[in-house]
Amino acid sequence: MIIEAKGLTYTYPIGAKPAFEDVTINVEKGEFVLLSGPSGCGKTTLVRCFNGLIPHFYGGKLEGEIRVVGLQVTEHPIHELAQHVGMVFQNPENQLFALSVEKDVAFGLENLGLPREDIRNRVDWALETTGISDLRDRAPYELSGGQQQRVAIASVLAMKPEVIVLDEPTSFLDPQGAKQIFEVIRNLNKDLGITIVLVEHRLDLTAKYADRVMVMDKGRVVLDGGPREVFSSEEARLIGVGIPKATRLYQFLKTEGTNLGKVPLSSEEAYQAIAEVLNT
């Protein structure tokens, strides 16, 4: 188990009530987890515990237990946890600051005090894996939003974390830029076995990559299971999760008496199911 939370409850220093309550979850090594739920449900707050931003940076009151890569989060400082858990945020501009892409990606490694040669190798590898080797000498601020977000991912990847948490990483990107970012994330998961926790509202582009979907509502984890099961559940609809269009189409047809069989998560799967019926 790479992330284990048991009866976890957290209240911000100024909060009157807990941001989330009694959360018990287990994430296995190598899983691709999609975390969703209405805005204000506590999902961003929850993932801030995964690298120790909560409680070390935000303060407040954290009760219950949380271990990440076997480390008790409350007992280990952020800089130590950051070597195991990388975070990528919504707006890449807030994460990049150096004068060149290369320097941005090397920054975390220099702080670790790694030998020069190692730093160079890791930077090369991270840039290549995210497909931005050709941008290494460019200034982050002159790049497109999609390129910037890849730099942010490369910076995190260079630390060779076991877990990468991404909080709506494509909100500011055009649709093709977003698609490419999700493909990069999928590859990190499939090729390198990195555990992914992706916080998202927009599930049309991401549902197909997930092994597991967790849905939070009012500070609690209310659904936790395979994407087909979760997205086709009545609860998901009632909570107001952004169910993928392909799944909604399936549901519509099913209510009208036409069953496509397996619940589709993407346009490709929906097409396959429809074509199969038409061909029989």
Partner: protein, 273 residues
């Protein structure tokens, strides 16, 4: 009526952000401007509220040249909600934030109260009225920014990326709300990357790449045109992708709405299952 006539715009750093853009938007229309990052979408809408003035060409809002009036005068007519709410918010409480412009426009205290109440209720923010905007989530801050603009009831509302950080219920509420505004003959212009939201709303689409408008028209036409959409770094909506693949079975390809898709499929599949 908004008229953008052969507008060119060059930023002080020499970047030519708009190249020969012409566009007409009628009263009560709902328009979505889409296209790749850096295509000039935000630059274009900042010309409509007068924050930017054309380097060449002109922009007319209700026949008034935007270079001939102050941004403050234009603001009464054109409400602009920034992409990043943090560039807009500055007050200590949500209520003050939403009241600020109203007071500036000289509304009486009673009217200010009434309008603030209305806007906060509308955007589901009433419980946060005494909270600092900076304590709220990104999605909530976005709604505060929207409330503060809607409060003064502008005739033209520009929303830059209104769906970022919003969940599906809030998006649905936003969609309903835009329909209401349109019914009151108010013009709504959104800049967005949210292709699925656009597929649900079906506004008129203006597609931009590299400072130019490359296409405009009905959502179901523009967003189902593979080449156009690719050129603008957009993708086809999920439903359009399904019907593009189904065209060999003799289906139309100009479908983007999930319910329309469902009805069309039922006609064919209903007999077979």
């Amino acid at each position: 009526m908004i008229k953008v006539e052969e507008v060119y715009f060059t930023y002080p750093n020499g970047i030519e952000a708009l190249k020969d853009v012409s566009l007409e938007i009628r009263d009560g229309e709902f328009v979505a401007i889409m296209g790749q990052n850096g295509a000039g979408k935000t630059t274009l809408v900042k010309h409509i509220n007068g924050l930017l003035k054309p380097t060449r060409g002109r922009v007319l809002v209700d026949d008034i040249d935007t270079t001939k009036v102050s941004v403050a005068t234009l603001a009464k007519k054109v409400g602009y909600v920034f992409q990043n709410a943090d560039h807009q918010l500055f007050s200590e409480t949500v209520e003050e934030e939403v009241s600020f412009a109203l007071r500036n426009f000289g509304y009486e205290e009673n009217a200010v109260k009434e309008r603030v109440e209305w806007a906060l209720n509308l955007l589901d923010l009433i419980e946060y009225r005494n909270v600092s905007p900076f304590m709220l989530s990104g999605g909530e801050r976005k709604r505060v920014a929207l409330a503060s603009v809607l409060a003064w009831n502008p005739r033209i509302v520009i929303l830059d990326e209104p769906t970022i950080g919003q969940d599906s219920q809030q998006k649905e509420r936003l969609r309903q709300f835009i329909i209401q505004l349109n019914r009151q003959e108010k013009t709504v212009i959104i800049v967005t990357h949210d292709i699925e939201f656009v597929a649900e709303c079906q506004p008129r689409i203006v597609l931009m790449t590299q400072g130019r408008v490359v296409a405009e028209g009905e959502a179901r036409k523009i967003l189902t045109d593979c080449d156009l959409v690719n050129q603008a770094s957009v993708v086809l909506p999920e439903i359009a992708q399904i019907f593009l693949k189904l065209r060999n079975f003799g289906f139309r390809t100009d479908i983007i709405d999930v319910y329309e898709a469902g009805r069309i499929l039922l006609e064919r599949l209903g007999d077979q299952t």
